[in-house]
């Protein structure tokens, strides 16, 4: 579904991605692990079009989308739940959901009903400003906002960051449900144990490169987790 080849993204002269190549199969949950500063967020932001790569290709369903604007990438069916959520704080919950569906011209009511069914807290607070929500609620909103564009590929950057354990479980339950409904998911996660329970495939990134790939349950899992946490 997504084929990344030799992707290089730099901040000034510092290359954060030094030639990343990886594939994501349709219908999978793929997890990207790695220590801080490995380039995981840079990779997500480059796929989503926020950062422009120096070199390399990002093929989505056969089309090279590397270097396109973020709105053009959303229109092709990719949505990113960014690190730190980035909800629109001075807009209401409902307005945030509408913003997520900015490119759609059809009726949004059924989608909003379904998302409110999945996240009842958002329904209770639909008229409240997003900036007044708790961290967990903001994360739910960020996921719901991304889903409003009806993505075929959902990118999630550290969805459990800074959240209470019960909320983290809720987030992972949601990820599993979205996957059952047919959405392909590419997930960056510090919480390796949780991530590997839902993932069908994982990559390890270190210092701007993919250094390992495999399936959960394989012999290398412990080694990968150790390296993801310790960066050693």
């Amino acid at each position: 579904m997504l084929e990344i080849r030799d992707l290089v993204t730099a901040y000034g002269t510092i290359e954060a991605l030094k030639g990343v190549s990886l594939d994501i199969a349709p219908g999978s949950i793929t997890c990207l692990l790695g220590p801080n500063g490995a380039g995981k967020t840079t990779l997500m932001m480059t796929i989503a079009g926020v950062l422009r790569p120096r070199r390399g290709t990002v093929k989505f369903q056969g089309e090279d989308i590397a270097g396109r604007a973020p709105d053009a990438i959303v229109s092709r069916g990719i949505a990113l739940v960014p690190e730190n959520r980035l909800v629109f704080p001075s807009m209401t919950v409902l307005e945030n959901l509408h913003a997520g569906a900015y490119q759609r011209r059809d009726d949004l009511a059924p989608d909003i009903e379904r998302l409110f069914g999945r996240f009842p807290r958002l329904k209770e607070r639909s008229a409240q400003l997003a900036g007044t929500l708790s961290g967990g609620e903001q994360q739910m909103l960020a996921v719901a906002r991304a889903l409003m564009s009806r993505p075929r590929l959902l990118l999630m950057d550290e969805p459990s960051l800074g959240l209470a354990p019960l909320v983290v479980e809720e987030i992972f339950r949601t990820i599993a449900e979205l996957h059952r409904d047919g959405t392909t998911i590419f997930l960056v996660e510090q919480n390796a144990h949780m991530a590997l329970q839902v993932a069908s495939h994982f990559f390890l990134m270190e210092q701007g490169r993919v250094t390992f790939s495999g399936n959960p349950g394989s012999l290398a899992e412990d080694e990968v987790i150790r390296r993801a946490y310790l960066g050693a």
Binding site: A48, S75, L86, S90, M91, Y102, R145
Partner: protein, 289 residues
């Protein structure tokens, strides 16, 4: 007491036009986090286009207004394309200096087409002021206040009741998240420049028609008044821009009456200095992080 009321009415009328100027400034600042110095000169260029039409075709105000509006909007869009679009990801200083260069360009263009120091502009209202009790109220002042109220209402409706307005507010809140939601930030940006110039042109038109004259200084004057009113109200807040404009108008009218015209401008800048130094709670005085 009569003096105080009279000054307050005059100050509110001037403040209404400052509020409009500040609203245009604030829209651009909110969306791009960049100060557009040639905001005022674009309005001035529109006023010159209208003056030119008035001199050559003796057109009435109902023709001059759309001419000024169109010329200002075009000039604003030109500024966005040349000074702001190329530096979207670059430094704020680069875009500001580029907008200063276009300011010089606009002043040169205006003085090439109409080289005189001062041109007459058709009056907004012919005939004397109205007497209301012991106050004399200029019809121009009433028009200015009325138009400003209507323009604020229309802008509020646009921002809070339309799909475009929701996209603008999303970009103001967080441009990266807006892009990730599928909103084209460059497309919003050029529309905001056009809208800001249109609001500025409404204010500028009322000002030149009330004063019945146009000079190249209108550009610098509009930028300074808009910037000052925007900063008084707290950088980047639309209600703050309206409040800042009204406060500036009232302050000027009263200080001119009680302290004289020399101290009028001094007092406004001094107030801004005090508010910034004291970190007034409504002002964005947090350091950049």
């Amino acid at each position: 007491m009569t003096d105080f009321l009279q000054n307050s009415v005059d100050g509110l009328a001037a403040g209404a036009s400052y509020s409009l100027l500040a609203l245009g400034f604030t829209l651009v600042f909110g969306v791009l986090r960049r100060a557009n110095l040639s905001y005022g000169p674009a309005i001035m260029l529109g006023a010159y286009a209208a003056t030119w039409a008035s001199l050559h075709f003796h057109a009435g105000l109902f023709v001059l207004f759309p001419v000024m509006l169109a010329a200002s909007v075009l000039a604003g869009a030109y500024v966005e394309r040349l000074a702001f679009a190329p530096h979207r990801a670059g430094s704020a200083i680069t875009a500001m200096v580029a907008s200063f260069a276009l300011w010089m360009q606009f002043e040169e263009l205006a003085t090439l087409v109409l080289p005189g120091h001062l041109y007459a502009f058709p009056p907004l209202h012919e005939g004397g002021p109205l007497a209301v009790g012991s106050l004399t109220i200029r019809v121009e002042a009433l028009v200015m206040i009325g138009v400003a109220v209507a323009a604020c209402g229309a802008l509020w409706g646009l921002l809070y009741r339309t799909r475009f307005g929701a996209a603008v507010r999303a970009v103001i809140d967080n441009p990266v998240a807006a892009g990730l939601s599928g909103i084209s930030v460059p497309a919003i940006s050029i529309r905001i420049f056009a809208l800001a110039s249109a609001i500025g042109a409404v204010a500028g038109f009322l000002i030149v028609a009330a004063q019945e004259q146009v000079t190249p200084m209108l550009g610098m004057w509009s930028t300074l008044k808009g910037l000052l009113a925007m900063m008084l109200g707290g950088l980047g807040s639309l209600p703050g821009a309206v409040a800042g404009g009204l406060a500036l108008g009232l302050l000027e009218a009263h200080s001119q009456w009680y302290l004289g015209p020399q101290l009028r401008d001094f007092l406004a800048y001094f107030l801004l200095f005090v508010l910034l130094a004291a970190r007034a709670p409504w002002m964005n005085t947090r350091s950049a992080s």
